[in-house]
Subunit: 174 residues, 2 copies
């Protein structure tokens, strides 16, 4: 590659949308492995790799999590059949940056596999809530980790339009 | 695409390294535009697009920034000829997530163009330091923004090995 034209990476970046409607088809184990490996390929400060992911495909559990803090009857996970929750090690140098970069890799890897994703911040409020401290442990998250965010993943059942760019976003000092 | 084999996006994700040695060749204006457009294609909470980037190609300015807080004689920007500093709007819903996801897009876009990058956290300490508050303004950053991080960008002059994966990083609840 290395050209701008016919560049599948640029195409993938520009084609990605936040998807909130999914077909009933499951994400395969092979696809999930692919996403996790993409996350692991992200950089991290001092190579600490301070990330941990919980991939939940058990529909009832996703629903239960969705009900813990949701004010309304709305499902914060939009009925997705796969939820990947990202955690960072509290004592690491830059856990939020590192876990977010790893999750960005997952979003683009998913797009390249024909899967849609949407970043769901709601999980942070659940998993970092003192009342639900036992949840992380029960899902195998090591001690000393906190939730950075989550992704819902699935086969898209919608094709949202691209957002228009809202404002000037760059100064070039050449 | 959408297959795992011969998937240029997955390839790009796995081939990316943090690069700290660059050839003297400049990043072209066309390549820089490409990186900024990739950033703009990232998702943001409530579609706020709460990001702003300063792309600095003026070598003396990069050097000056590098000397503001560096303890030692080391150059925190590794002699790079392009520094892209990312800022987020303080009052936005999730500025750190949004700007980091945008910068992740830039890192992979750069990789796809044959460019190397490295996330440099040092810029946060400079730009968010009260002593240097005037700096942001002088570089055109709107009021109410703070620095999330930065990337050095250039034509790689090294091919670092991939890091080995350090530990178990996933629980699957199926």
């Amino acid at each position: 590659m290395s050209q701008i034209e016919n560049n599948e990476v640029l195409q993938c970046i520009h084609d990605r949308r936040s998807v909130r409607r999914f077909q009933k088809k499951p994400v395969s184990a092979e696809q999930l492995t692919c996403l996790i490996q993409a996350a692991q390929a992200a950089p991290s400060a001092m190579n600490e790799q301070p990330w941990y992911f919980v991939a939940i495909q058990k529909r009832e559990l996703i629903e239960q999590l969705g009900q813990l803090l949701a004010d309304s009857g709305e499902d914060p996970y939009y009925g997705a059949s796969l939820l990947i929750v990202g955690f960072g090690r509290r004592e690491a140098h830059s856990p939020i940056t590192d876990v977010t970069l790893a999750m960005a890799n997952m979003m683009l890897a998913a797009q390249s596999l024909g899967l849609g994703t949407c970043w769901i911040d709601y999980s942070r409020h659940v998993f970092n809530h003192p009342q639900f401290a036992g949840l992380q442990r029960s899902l195998g998250v090591p001690e000393g980790y906190f939730c950075v965010g989550s992704l819902i993943v699935g086969v898209p059942d919608e094709q949202p339009q691209a957002h228009t760019v809202q404002h000037q976003i760059v100064s070039v000092v050449g």
